[in-house]
């Protein structure tokens, strides 16, 4: 087989031409054959359509809303769909669900839905509603915040709402031992109950400020929370700030133009396809959403929350009787979690768990965390007083399983 040599290409295919430098200039042009007709292609066009993400995986986790380990419907504040936490403090109430209403033709299967179940027609100054994703500082060092090379960011998402008008995204650069900076940025939902794609640019110098590019704008390089993005649905006047302008302080949820999404029980809000990109993009130049396999998405969510055992006879772990009335059970985690150790998240009640030993099984009411746990392995400690443990012979091996259809055992290391 004939070998193609670089020198051969240079000399024989386009003879006499100067080789292109390793990094083309914007003014460079490429010649391509379009059905035999030679045409010119500007490098600026190639650059504008090429995906040049500096990050391998999406910064924002579960932007497709596919993973929801805790369940599919949530009426309380806190984490619902993986990585998304609701904070509602109005006189109204909302339910968050994982929904199947999605923009058609873009490869999404799930959305996060917020349904107003109790209205609040007038949001007080100190009330608000919104849901947030927090980001780990050590994942965001490439933003170069705290230097003059701080990067632009682009947030894009698909949104649908019964209530039209001005909404806000709240961006937060956490203090991390320095100074906390925030800015709300407005966007408009134009058509009721219609999926719309939004693209929002966040400059490190938004509002002609130099807070983010100054030394106190640096992002803490640790597993602590360093950045957050909140989708605001209502905001009292105590939490208002100027649109698209970084400011020192906290709780800048929105501008004064933010609609009150909670003013009717007919209001529903859906969100999916949320992506955060390094760089400044428009709707024309934005790279495609990085669709992941469910397994990859789940694995990245599991750094922050792992539903380890749920319902029926789901295994929790193996262990032994340390003493006649004390048991240790080890649970090996599917991934390294953010915290060492994480919090145990569980449902409790009579016979919610069963300890199998010596041909029998005893009901266990709840599980308690022992400090000898790590990022990768959680140690559960059981005794008679707290957990309902029956006594057995020291060193007896045993198996802990879920015993109720309502039993849940998870590990929580959320930000």
């Amino acid at each position: 087989m004939a070998q193609i040599k670089t020198k051969g290409i240079a000399n024989e295919v386009i003879s006499g031409q100067t080789a292109l430098a390793e990094a083309p200039a914007d003014t460079d042009e490429f010649l391509v054959s379009d059905g035999g007709t030679i045409k010119r292609l500007d490098y600026t066009h190639i650059k504008s359509t090429a995906v040049t993400r500096p990050n391998v995986n999406p910064f924002l986790i579960n932007g497709s809303m596919e993973v929801s380990q805790r369940g599919t419907s949530f009426t309380s504040n806190g984490y619902g769909l993986d990585r998304w936490t609701m904070d509602e403090s109005s006189d109204g109430a909302v339910t968050v669900t994982q929904d199947t209403d999605v923009p058609s033709g873009y490869g999404f299967g799930k959305s996060l839905k917020v349904d107003v179940t109790t209205l609040d027609s007038s949001i007080a100054a100190d009330q608000s509603c919104g849901f947030t994703q927090f980001f780990e500082g050590q994942n965001l060092q490439l933003l170069k915040y705290g230097t003059s090379n701080a990067e632009n960011l682009t947030l894009s998402f698909w949104v649908k709402s019964v209530k039209t008008g001005t909404y806000c995204i709240r961006f937060v650069k956490e203090a991390g031992g320095l100074t906390r900076y925030e800015t709300p940025i407005e966007y408009t939902i134009s058509s009721a109950s219609t999926w719309e794609k939004k693209v929002i640019n966040l400059s490190p110098t938004a509002g002609s400020t130099s807070l983010i590019t100054g030394a106190a704008g640096a992002i803490v390089n640790s597993n602590a929370s360093a950045f957050r993005i909140m989708f605001t649905l209502a905001s009292g006047s105590n939490f208002h700030a100027t649109n698209n302008t970084w400011v020192a302080g906290s709780d800048k949820y929105a501008t004064s133009n933010q609609v009150n999404f909670l003013d009717s029980t007919s209001n529903n809000f859906w969100l999916t396809g949320v992506q955060l990109e390094v760089g400044e993009y428009t709707s024309a130049t934005l790279p495609s959403f990085q669709h992941e396999s469910y397994g990859d998405n789940l694995a990245r969510c599991q750094r922050y929350f792992t539903m380890y055992a749920e319902g029926g006879q789901a295994p929790v772990g193996n262990g032994l009787f340390w003493e006649a009335g004390e048991v240790f059970i080890n649970c090996h985690l599917p991934t390294t979690m953010r915290l060492e150790p994480p919090t145990i998240y569980q449902t409790t009640g009579t016979d919610y768990f069963f300890l199998y030993r010596n041909g029998g099984a005893d009901g266990i009411t709840q599980l308690t965390l022992n400090a000898s746990s790590s990022h990768n392995c959680v140690s559960i400690y059981l005794n008679a007083g707290t957990n309902g443990l029956a006594s057995d012979t020291k060193n007896r091996p045993c198996i802990l399983r879920a015993g109720s259809a309502s039993a849940k055992f998870g590990l929580d290391a959320e930000l």
Binding site: T75, S76, N223, A224, E326, L339, E340, P341, P342, T343, I344, Y345, Q346, T347, T348, G349, Q366, L367, T368, L369, N370, A371, S373, Y381, N383, G385, T386, S406, D412, A413, E414, L415
Partner: protein
């Protein structure tokens, strides 16, 4: 923050290991609980510390 909750230490050989938060039953009658490590950086532990700073007390372990 922890209205209606029971908040109690878990101990082993006399040393506190974690804090058990038991929440009131929800509308479906399900009782949720957390077993929280005594760890700075854990948001549940931070919430408990804030609750204690407000004048509340964690029950001693059994």
């Amino acid at each position: 923050m922890f209205e209606g909750c029971t908040i109690k230490y878990n101990s082993f050989e006399g040393v506190n290991q974690s804090i058990q938060i038991t929440y009131p039953a929800n509308d479906e009658g399900i009782v949720y609980a957390k077993s929280v490590p005594l760890l700075e950086g854990n948001r549940d532990y931070a919430d408990i510390q804030e609750w204690v700073a407000d004048g509340n007390t964690i029950e001693e372990a059994d």
